[in-house]
Symmetry: D2
Subunit: 387 residues, 4 copies
């Protein structure tokens, strides 16, 4: 066994007052595989410096802009230079930074959605194909062990032929007009110039969509949606629902809403086939409720060494059953797989991590669901994604 | 206080092997307000006799057909004659029997849906308006105390302005081709000549629809649906979902399915307004989860004398909180209110019991959702019901 | 099949303001097997008359006292006379009325506990042995289908050799000094002259005890208890806990308390053997959580025709899974079995109904746990009950 | 703001195949406050080297024994030398290593229990008092935000005067004779020479005990226990239960068992006062069920910025409500507080971290509960702990 050396990473965004930047740092730290070496955490110089100090980033590795960071790091000797760039900015910068970073020779781990349009994301995909670098997309929920177990149950035929998929993500935090109150998270997410053409669907609808395709291993092919903005003056959708059909002949419903007062992050998926059904909820992530047709419900539980779990679920558990692992552990699973992929010299999409395909699918979904929300046509096609 | 005399009732349908007939008899019996005096329980003479014997119905009050029953009872002295007719046949007989019974001077309590078409149900409504009799529709779930409590919470503004309604009724019992196996319940429900033009939506979609309108006190005005039949050869829908909009500006999703393998009777409704949300589930009927916006979730519990409950919920509880009441008790609440209405000489719809309005709304829903299921138009109007 | 004739019953106690009398009447009515023909519902004449009127009891069958009732009914022709006497008085009258009723030739269904001392209950047992009548004890919880299923799981070895039994019954309704506020239920239950020498343990500790012995099919042989009265001036225990050992080598803990603020009727039992464990809760009575050792948890559900349930559970379900049955249905199961036993001419203990054995065990428990509560000896023997 | 420098720590124990060592490393890493610089992970040289390599520990900081580690680190310049020693060995080494480490000038964070006897732990306490170093005890569960919230609810009088405390920790993993199968975790925990005189009570009974005293802010003063070993040949208790009384006049029950087949880590506590009750469960750690007397149940939820939470709970949350945090995060909270305490130059017990007091109480509990398990005296005193 060779001696571990940590993967050096830098971060764009994630200054004081941000939410997801800290999530990435905790997750990268958890398994001891990464070391934060540089950052451009905020365009506000004080915030940038304070964030860097609190994180122990050396002064000569604090950058005023993402362009400076890419340039500065490129000049460093390879043994010091960051290897991976983590992008936790508002959406409109995702693709520009990702492309520049890949071109500069860095691996990229970017927050979702991949960008603000399918077209720019396709350009990113083309760039990626022309490098030997890795690109990951931070669909955190796809790091949960029991999401992988659900996928395996479908794959192994435990549910039979899939007939129905219900996926929902109700939140309540945008019930009020937070953007009017200058809430940082709300402001950029409801601003088309930063978030793109969709609010709720881009922010959490993509999670629901991605989860459904990931577990079912089917593509959603047709969509019939209604989108709404419930708060006066809000510029992007804060709520929506869609009927859908899949490539494998199943049908389903997708709900995403940020104005379901009192809800936290109640992402939940249910799938039913002709042999049984299953249910997984993000807020109780260590449990799958498996409903075999005509037999008692079984409750599958995450846990290291837990009998009956598949290999993909097992290797994502750190603790025996009954000591809960959560959201940061799910994200950390993505980071750990990313570290392995870097060490192995993989290219394109790191094994075990959502990548450019997930990004393209998500963008295609956002564009189709948004068009459907404004369309009088009942069903809109969501074509298979190619690049 | 005057001495109680029980309301005499007869029953059409509900012979051995049926499901809902026994439910009605248990429910009618529970509070000691009713006495079963006659019946035409089955067209099979042996079944009819056996059922009557097991129930203690006198031989001279057993009838070979519903027509015989109406005629025979009409000839009896008023003090002996049945007062109320309970109809628990397949759907295609609901309206013909209801109309004849009303015309013959009997009160009617009929299983849902009210009929097999809106048109025939409107004719029934006209008949009813021309009598001094009562007509009730057995929407059992509207007898649950916490359904009334939910309605009151909405009415009192606890949730603010309603924005979203999610209502779902997943069952799994039609996952297989039970009608091919001559399952009695499955056979008539999937036979258009007995069930009408809809299977799942008529059978349980109406429950979801009725619950949503009852609690929200808004009418559903537009529907966009997909209906499916998942089992080869099945003649009516066994599954469906619809986006909808309401008269009060809310939007929502309605799901009804009988092929969700492993599900029992998981009827559930969630409503969200700008001040909070609430959730009620039929399988845990004594609980409402109330989610005030920006404050901890509250769990409201049914129970006699329970502090904080409204009068409508309280008067439907027999037991203190923690001794569960269930489905039969909910149906019994409808029966008890029906008895009161009879004694008071009410006419039309008995207070506290779903009546012809619910029947008309249900039929309008079934017809609209079925049309939508076959339509390429995105939104179909569900007009306000008049007669 | 012969024509059903209902069993005629009378009731002592259960006037307006009482709790358990109405429970018995609902339960007796539910399955249509019983008819209330007489009563001495209250020593208050107005209450007695009003109760009788509301229940439709004929004026000549309303009695001023239990003695009058026994005498009056004895004089009636056998075809009119009550067959079964239901006793729902405070505890101190249970044995005197039971003995007199049996001697007068009536079957008896009595509220628990059987009496206020083991000695008087043994005298009752002797009387019963000398008649051909039936005696049942209203341990309602033993009418739940899933309690029988739990018993069967133990019996069939599903849990292996039993090691641990945890049974608890926390309530909160005596948190305050309700007896000072003249609450009727609280007053007699905390009055030694009416309740006997124990409050909480006699009232609900017996339920926990009886459930543990019923499901485990083992006798509790040793007890080490602490009893307390938490409200100043309260004369009987309102709370207690006991370590115990059983005839089969298991050990466990029994908790019963009426001062657990905020609790309803949270009766719960868990049993663990060397092959698995199970859990049942009264407030979710249609579910057993089965925990096979080394395999996923299974959730067993009550329901008519439910695959995997034993015959004893199945025959106590009226409805398919997912339409909840509750407390009244559990009590109704005892009544229905009592009706069968009467028709079959059984004597002693009606099949399927707790009887004098349960009564004697309960009294032995109450006396032993109360002595233990005042004793410095660690373990007190609870001898096998004989009579 | 000054630049963060990480706290350097070393570890004794925690080699491949161990459980809790990795937990400590994840937890120390999560918030980016610690850096692992040295270790003696195993007495097996290959295991020691492999573990170190996988963790990136430099070869010159890998030590063959804990004595070597203390000596070797002492010789390093202060800027390199480890600051904190983490001890994750079997119990019999806890005190010897802790004392030596403190004497050598290192802070100590030790797994529980503090030692194998109260006497040796008192000697440790004396040593600690004579240094300016910090000593923390890894009672992980006391790092959960909602445990602090529960404590605050008690402190603020939300429950009124405490009457009852029920605390239980059922596990199932020792249902079989794992030590015979050479399971590493089972072997040392059931070996008196490594675990001390108690198995289950030392391993998890202490968690239940510590949680009860922490939340209630009362000391347990009297104990009446039964301890058992259910597996033939097992040398230490694998199961036990105790009645107890507290300094504040409450009484309660403590259950700890490792042979409850099918249970994971179901640590749960309920407290009841005259104004209400609360419940917390380790397996759903982000929720407190609060039961105000006479009002609806409230569900309090952990989360950054969550309204209604106290400062102690809030500062232990990294994520908004609905993104679950778990066991590693709880332990990480202890580590982060330890880092702060080191930087502030605290001595004795680090603020926010269980320390020597918790250690002494735990040892006193283990000794008393073990004596009680073998005693015929009903109540044994558990004296207030002094040193």
């Amino acid at each position: 066994m060779s001696k571990l050396t940590k993967v050096r990473f830098g971060m764009i965004g994630g200054g004081e007052g941000a939410f997801i930047g800290a999530v990435h740092r905790h997750a990268a730290a958890l398994d001891g595989q990464f070391e934060l070496v540089c950052g451009a955490f905020s365009r506000d110089a004080t915030n940038n410096q304070n964030t860097a100090d609190a994180l122990g980033v050396a002064d000569n590795r604090i950058y005023a802009s993402w362009q400076d960071l890419l340039q500065g790091e490129s000049l460093l000797p390879e043994s010091e230079r960051m290897e991976l760039l983590v992008i936790v900015t508002p959406n409109q910068l995702h693709v520009p930074i990702s492309r520049a970073a890949l071109m500069a020779g860095f691996h990229v781990f970017c927050e979702k959605p991949a960008g603000i349009s399918l077209a720019e994301t396709q350009a990113l995909a083309t760039d990626l194909a022309n490098t030997d670098r890795l690109y990951g997309l931070a669909h955190t929920y796809l790091g949960y062990p029991m999401v992988w177990q659900a996928r395996q149950l479908v794959q192994s035929g435990e549910l039979g032929t899939l007939r129905k998929i219900f996926v929902e993500y109700p939140q309540g935090w945008l019930t009020d007009d937070l953007e009017a109150a200058a809430n940082k998270q709300a402001s950029w997410r409801t601003d088309p110039s930063q978030a793109g053409n969709s609010g709720c669907m881009a922010d959490i609808g993509t999670h629901a969509f991605g989860l459904a395709e990931f577990i079912s291993q089917q593509q959603i092919t047709e969509i019939c949606a209604e989108l709404k903005s419930h708060v006066a003056g809000r510029r992007l959708d804060d709520d929506g629902a869609a009927l859908f059909r899949t490539s494998g002949g199943a049908s389903g419903v997708l709900i995403a809403s940020q104005i379901c007062a009192g809800e936290e992050n109640a992402l939940k998926i249910r799938l039913y086939g002709d042999k049984g059904g299953l249910e997984w909820q993000q807020m109780e992530p260590n449990t799958i409720v498996l409903r075999p047709h005509g037999a008692p419900v079984k409750v599958l539980r995450a846990g290291r060494g837990q009998p009956g779990l598949g290999i993909e679920a097992l290797r994502r558990c750190r603790l025996p059953a009954g000591h809960p692992e959560g959201y940061l552990e799910a994200m950390a699973n993505l980071y750990s797989d990313f570290a392995v992929a870097i060490r192995r010299g993989e290219r394109g999409t790191p094994s075990g991590v959502p990548g450019i395909d997930a990004g393209l699918r998500g963008m295609a979904f956002i564009e189709t669901v948004s068009r459907s929300g404004h369309s009088d046509d009942k069903w809109l096609l969501l074509p298979p994604t190619t690049y």
